[in-house]
C-alpha cells in the first residue's frame, strides 16, 4: 500500500473515530474520504488494529484476585456445579529424574540489588534495605566485610551504622550469610519469629513470609537461635545451638497452636490437667546435606526427591510467576535433579518430560494438569519393581 497523504483535520477525525469522539463536521469529512475508495477503508481498519492493540501497553493493572471473588459470588449465586474430582486418589511417591536443569536469572551481584534508604527515625538511625526482586538474585558485601547472597523476593534491612556498634539485620526471604569473625560484636539476623546469632560462620536462612517455616542451615561455625514473641522479644526458653550440617526448622503454626490452647482453656473443667500439647516449634535435623539448601546461590540448583508442591514456591520466585495445580495429585509428585541456567520454558518442559504433567502458560500464570493419557507410561515401570 502506498503511503497515505492525510491532512491534520482528517487525522483528527480518524483519531476521533477510534476514541469515540467524533464531531459532526469531522464525521462528514471522514465519510467523504471513506466513500472515495476501498483503500481508504482498509487503511482506517489497519490503523484500528494498532490502536486497539496499543491498549495493552497500559501499565495500569486491575486486581484479578478481587474480581475473581466477585465473579465467584455471581456464578455461585446462580448454580453450583460439582467439580470433577481427580481420578487418582492414592498417594504417589515416585522419584522422577529431571534430566535438564535450571538457570540463574541474573548474573549474581550485577545490577539486581536495589538499595534504598529509609527516612530517618526519631532515634536518628537510618536504615538501608537491599532487595532482590522476584526473578533475580543478588549479593551484597556489608561494611564489616561479611557477604550476603539474597534469593529472589528477599528483603534485607540494616541500620546505616551497621558494624559500628552492632551487627543487626532484619531478613524477610532467603539469604546465605558468610560472616566475618568478630567475637566482640555478634552478627544477628532477625526474622519474623526467630533470632539467629553468629560470631563467624556460613549459614543459610529461609524466612519467607508466605511460607509456614523458617529454616536455618549451618555450613560452618556455630549459630544460636532464639524464638521471638509477638512483641519481638526473645522468648525466655532455652535457645537452640546449631553445629555444622545441622538444620533448625521453626514451624510458625506450632507457635500459634500453643497460643490457641491457652485461649481454649476456660471451657475445660479445672480438674483436667493443663494442656501440654505445645509442640516445640523449633526442631533440629542433623547430618543434612547443606548443598541442597545453599545451592540456590550458585549457578546450580540441586534438589533431591522434592515434592512438586515444594518446588513451586521456588519456581514462582525465580521466574516471577504464579502456579496453579488443576489436579491436586500432581503436588505430591517428587523430583530429583540439578537445574542450571534454564529458561522457564525449558524447566516446564523438563517437568513435563519427567512426569505425566502438562502445563499451560499465559502471561505470568502457569497451570499444571495431569496428563492422564500419558500416566500409564510413567507408572508401569514402578509396578514392575
Amino acid at each position: 500500500m502506498k503511503e497515505m497523504n492525510i491532512s491534520d483535520s482528517l487525522g483528527e477525525a480518524i483519531e476521533g473515530y477510534y476514541t469515540n469522539k467524533l464531531t459532526q463536521s469531522q464525521a462528514e469529512e471522514l465519510l467523504a474520504w471513506l466513500g472515495k475508495n476501498e483503500e481508504n477503508k482498509h487503511y482506517l481498519l489497519e490503523l484500528g488494529k494498532v490502536w486497539y492493540a496499543s491498549s495493552q501497553l497500559s501499565t495500569r493493572e486491575t486486581d484479578a484476585n478481587n474480581a475473581w471473588t466477585n465473579l465467584l459470588d455471581k456464578i455461585e449465586g446462580d448454580s453450583i456445579r460439582p467439580m470433577p474430582k481427580p481420578e487418582l486418589r492414592i498417594k504417589i511417591s515416585v522419584l522422577y529424574r529431571v534430566a535438564a536443569a535450571v538457570l540463574l536469572i541474573a548474573v549474581l551481584g550485577i545490577g539486581s540489588v536495589f538499595v534504598f534508604r529509609f527516612p530517618k527515625t526519631k532515634s536518628q538511625i537510618a536504615y538501608f534495605e537491599a532487595f532482590a526482586p522476584k526473578g533475580s538474585r543478588s549479593f551484597i558485601t556489608l561494611s564489616d566485610g561479611s557477604t550476603v547472597w539474597l534469593n529472589s523476593g528477599t528483603k534485607l534491612r540494616y541500620p546505616s551504622n551497621f558494624g559500628k556498634e552492632s551487627r543487626d539485620l532484619f531478613l524477610e526471604g532467603e539469604a546465605y550469610f558468610v560472616v566475618m569473625n568478630n567475637p566482640v560484636m555478634p552478627f544477628r539476623v532477625e526474622t519474623s519469629d526467630v533470632w539467629i546469632t553468629a560470631i563467624g560462620t556460613a549459614f543459610n536462612v529461609k524466612a519467607y513470609s508466605d511460607e509456614g517455616v523458617i529454616e536455618t542451615t549451618l555450613e560452618k561455625g556455630e549459630v544460636r537461635i532464639d524464638e521471638l514473641d509477638e512483641s519481638k522479644m526473645k522468648v525466655e526458653s532455652t535457645p537452640v545451638f546449631l553445629k555444622p550440617n545441622q538444620k533448625a526448622v521453626y514451624v510458625k503454626s506450632n507457635k500459634n497452636l500453643s497460643v490457641n490452647n491457652t485461649v481454649q482453656k476456660s471451657p475445660i473443667p479445672s480438674n483436667e490437667p493443663v494442656n501440654k500439647i505445645k509442640t516445640n516449634p523449633l526442631r533440629v535435623d542433623s547430618y543434612v546435606d547443606t548443598k541442597l539448601t545453599t545451592s540456590w546461590k550458585d549457578r546450580r540448583w540441586i534438589f533431591k526427591s522434592e515434592k512438586l508442591i515444594k518446588l513451586v514456591p521456588i519456581l514462582e520466585r525465580r521466574y516471577d510467576i504464579t502456579v496453579t495445580f488443576r489436579d491436586s495429585v500432581l503436588s505430591s509428585y517428587k523430583f530429583t535433579g540439578i537445574l542450571k541456567e534454564e529458561s522457564l520454558e525449558q524447566v516446564l518442559k523438563a517437568i513435563c518430560l519427567a512426569a505425566p504433567i502438562r502445563y499451560e502458560i499465559m502471561h505470568n500464570q502457569v497451570l499444571f494438569f495431569e496428563n492422564s493419557g500419558q500416566k500409564n507410561k510413567y507408572f508401569k515401570p514402578i509396578k514392575n519393581n
Binding site: L34, T62, A67, N70, R358, M362, L367
Partner: protein, 189 residues
Amino acid sequence: MLNLAEKYLVESIKKGDQKSFEFLFKSNYSNLCKYARNIIHNEITAEDLVMDIFVRIWESPEKLVISTSISGYLYQCIHNHCINYLTRKHKQFSELNAETIEQLNVLMPADTSGDPLIGINIVELTNRIDKSIEHLPEECRKIFILSRKEELSHKEIAAQLGISENTVKVQIYRALIKMHILLKEFLPG
C-alpha cells in the same frame, strides 16, 4: 491453531473444571480490562463488561469454540461486547446525528468484515508497537506514552504538557500512521 495444552485447558473448562476457569480468568482479566477501558473510557463499566464475558463462558462453556488462540478469542469477545454496549446504549458517537452514524456503520460495518482484530495476534502486535515507540519523534512519543501507557485522557495530557487537545489528537494520529508504516509487514492484508 491451539496448542495441545490450550486445547486441554478449553476441554477442562467445558467439563466445568473451576481451577482451569480460574486460571483463564486470572491470566486474562487485567489485560481485557485495559482493552475495554480503551473503548469504553469508564473503568467500572469496562470491568463489568469483562466480567460478563467470563460469566457467559462459565454458564455456557459449550459455546466456547476457539480456532485461533485463547487470548485472541477473548479479545474478540470483549471487542464485540464493548461495541455492542456502545451501540445499544446509543453512546457511540453520541455527538452525531442518527443518519451520520448509520452511514458510518454502512461504510465500516462492525461485523466480521470490518473487524479490526481479524488475522492479528494482539500480544505480538503489542510487543512490536512497544518496540517501535522509540522511533517516534520526541513530542509524539511523549504524548503516545502518556495516552497508551499511563492511560491519561487527551485533556489530562494537554494540561500536563501545556498544549491544546487538538495537538494531542493530531500527535496520536501521527503516532498511529508512523506505527502503521513500521509494522506494515506485521499487519495482514
